[in-house]
Symmetry: C2
Subunit: 346 residues, 2 copies
């Protein structure tokens, strides 16, 4: 058994609460040290972090605490945290031992002492990229799965529209919908992403929303008969255009509103009358409510990956020092696919 030593530990801290678009300088890289051993009797686990996940919901944690958020705010001056993949260095938890690979909530730092290891999941399947546990096999994967299969009540042959469709969640929603036999159209913010949607993920059609001056017209072109299911990642004027193009008894799974996260005042949505005339069901959801479905989802998703039925595109930044830039890139759509940061080699 290795003896205790003090190891250097670089960390990303939140400087202060953020208002408006976050900047790299809202976060700071610092150097500290940590013990290589878990405090005796603590029941804690010490992790060496390998992959950090950049997710849009983290923007909410950078704001001053408000009662309407669903995630606690980060603490200014403290380490940023989020989903990640890590290797156990030392453990006082009976189910985890040194060398185990885990995923769950961890710090944006080289080493994290996790005092509540029940929230870490041991990684069993390692024939797939480990980074996938921040994406298709992690929170975004389950989000796409429950959002589409549980919230959208999809049926074969229905028309499905996905916004932010090349992102961590969107690319999966589109592929799940194709596997179910739906007609799927996605939108994204660049030609490269639109090509991915059509040629890599198998969407039936796709468009670059930045090149459409009239979103309503774009949706009418893609869905002359209307939209049965909208998987909402964007909000604002996109939602307004979608409402005009929904079919009667359509369903909208409200997963995210990324167009709104950095605005001081939310854009108004003006076409809610369509909710009545078309008897639309809009349903908000968050993945933690559906954690009980994770085991079955994991087996299914791993099978799909092995069989090549689903592919997953990641955008991997290298180095902890590049994590802030990777995170804020989400809000300008710089990432192509799921944004991950690799901070150590496996």
């Amino acid at each position: 058994m290795a003896t205790e030593k003090v190891v250097p530990n670089r960390q990303i801290l939140l400087k202060d609460y953020v208002s408006g678009f976050p900047k790299e300088t809202d976060m700071v890289l610092t150097s500290t040290t940590t013990s290589s051993k878990v405090p005796p009797g603590s029941g804690a686990v010490l992790l060496k972090n390998i992959y950090l996940s950049c997710d849009p919901y983290m923007r909410g944690r950078m704001s001053k605490p408000i009662s309407q958020n669903y995630a606690d705010s980060f603490v200014p001056g403290s380490v940023i945290y989020g989903y990640g993949v890590a290797k156990v260095v030392d453990s006082e938890h009976p189910d985890l031992k040194a060398g185990d690979l885990v995923w769950g909530i961890t710090g944006w730092e080289e080493f994290s002492l996790v005092s509540n290891p029940r929230r870490l999941l041991k990684i069993k399947h390692t024939d797939v990229p480990l980074s996938y546990y921040t994406g298709i096999l992690g929170m975004p994967g389950l989000t796409a799965y429950v959002g589409f299969h549980e919230i959208c009540s999809p049926k074969k042959g229905e028309t499905v529209y996905v916004s932010a469709a090349s992102g961590a969640v969107g690319q999966l929603v589109g592929q799940f919908a194709k596997l179910m036999g739906c007609y799927v159209v996605g939108s994204a913010g660049s030609k490269e992403k639109v090509d991915l949607l059509k040629n890599k993920f198998g969407f039936d059609d796709a468009f670059n929303y930045k090149e459409e001056h009239d979103l309503n017209a774009a949706l009418k072109r893609c869905f002359p008969e209307g939209i049965d299911i909208y998987f909402e990642n964007v909000g604002g004027r996109m939602l307004d255009a979608v409402l005009l193009n929904m079919k009667v008894h359509g369903r909208i799974a409200v997963c995210g509103l990324i167009s709104q996260y950095n605005l001081h005042e939310q854009e108004g949505v003006h076409n809610l009358f369509c909710v009545i005339t078309k008897r639309i069901r809009m349903q908000g959801f968050i993945e933690p409510d559906h954690k009980h479905l994770y085991p079955q989802f994991l087996e299914l998703a791993v099978q799909y990956i092995r069989e090549g039925k689903i592919v997953y595109v990641e955008d991997i930044a290298e180095g902890l020092e590049n994590a802030p830039s990777a995170l804020i890139g989400l809000f300008s759509g710089r990432n192509v696919g799921k944004q991950v940061v690799r901070i150590a080699h496996e």
Copy 2:
């Protein structure tokens, strides 16, 4: 058998499509004549109209046809139509005979020739006021019933908020919710209506929205623990305030958006992020989708009325010539209770 004669028939016509708030002068009273007999071989029914129903959805029919509406527009220069109660004068339909009382869609005129009598329902229960078939025992009644019981998924002990709560639908939603053991608060636009809510319909609390400069604060005062169910009749800034006060897993039945019907541009709704954070289900619905539930609803509602478990307040205008004023009064909230127009004696 009476011989055919020509009888005078006064009618209310729509002059032209309406934009903005409707005015009495958008409609016109004319005099014409009609035959007292149904054309031989037509299968039609001739009605003598008794009660006409004024309903907010009729505003949509006064506008130029748009693809997003759920009801066809009236035809300028033609008779306005809507729900009503009538007596059969002559019939070529096997199920209806002279003297039968019916309710259904009829014209705003003294006599209506109905060529598709399958859409008329024969009135069986006549120990209740006949006008109730425009309200509690008609479309608004079934709307309140399915909106609350089918769309809101209510449970005993939950908190329920109803806007436009003294109206044709709202007063029933509140009473259904009380019968189920919910805590019910309503809002309306005058002291008289608030008194009705509290003292006649048995709401637990009520407020006059016109006297609240901060709807969010009003709702926080009435629902310190938040709202499980919102029955939406109003839209706009009321919906924004409600979203801030919904509980996690709350439900919003979207029945009407009367605050928006006369606006050239709909108010924006800004707090839809709460739909995610609180996992809210917003479900639009219209009563025609649920017609199959009418027979069971009718028996239940008649029983409730006979037992005094539910009361119903109507605002009855007298005379066809006063129908236009009664209809437009809905949009300034002039009516107290369900707005009906009596144009003949039973």
